[in-house]
Amino acid sequence: MTLDWQVFMTDDGSGRTYGEWMLEAWRWTLAVAGTSWVVAMVLGAVIGTLRTLQSSPWLVRLGDAWVELFRNIPLLVQIFLWYFVVPKIIPAFQQVPGFTLVVFGLGFFTSARIAEQFKAGIQALPRGQRYAAMAMGFTTWQSYRYVLLPMAFRIVLPPLTSESMNLLKNSSVAFAVSISELTMFAMQAQEETSRGIEIYLAVTALYVVSAVVVNRIFALIERKLRVPGLIVAGATGGH
């Protein structure tokens, strides 16, 4: 079987080539993943931190409930819930575009996983760190801000790398609610052109490139933020 890459130069019937369509779909994938990443990181960091506040059991329970809720429902089901059920129950969501609903779905799902990692990262710190902060007379906020979180953040960087790459790949479920991202493009263009192998190869390559770029960015952050002697990052490779 021979590959025919000319398919990317042909018109898709609306004045643009399949190549242009694919790049546009790539931008959608990056937009969905990027926006969801911000939501997931902010929520995940906050909720993960709240779950380690032993003095506020209700905040811990709330955080635990959040994580269990969003971790134990399949992502695809969550996307469908956001897209079909939430607007029906909460009328205010009827005006919200599909893109935003998918960002909620992906962002909340990933935030639960990131929260779990942040909690683990904070708990991985020696108990003495917290006690030392208390001994210095720091308030809870100060001990987190200046002692615990800076170290915990460095500990969770390797799992955060994996999670960010997962988020990018998971953005492919947005095809299920007609977001015109890469997977959606792959399915539609495959049907229209019957050049499935070429299109899938190109789409797969774009996903691989995106994932590798995310990986490299995090490797760079990890290297820049390394605290000599405190964490032996890079020794085992992590992800």
């Binding site: 029906k88 129950i89 790459m165 790949k169 998971n170 953005s171 492919s172 479920v173 095809f175 997977t183 792959a186 399915m187 495959q190 499935g196 192998i197 899938y200 789409v203 797969t204 996903y207 691989v208 994932a211 590798v212």
Partner: protein
Amino acid sequence: MLGLDFSFISLDVLQKFVWGGLVFSVQLTIVATLGGIFFGTLLALMRLSGKPVLMGPASFYVNGMRSIPLVMVILWFYLLMPFE
């Protein structure tokens, strides 16, 4: 309530669709887990073997599969399977 209508749920629907779907989900999970453990162990052994002939392809497969969305993997299988 909330504009929702659950009247479609009947014993018939539960038996035909919900139960069938649940059984299929569990079956798929079991088969995929067993297959994953088997091939995963094989790949791990290949990567630890110290022989470049085995380590190269295993690393390529693992890194490749890990950087592709699951949906794309399924689409690939769907595209390729009937013709081979």
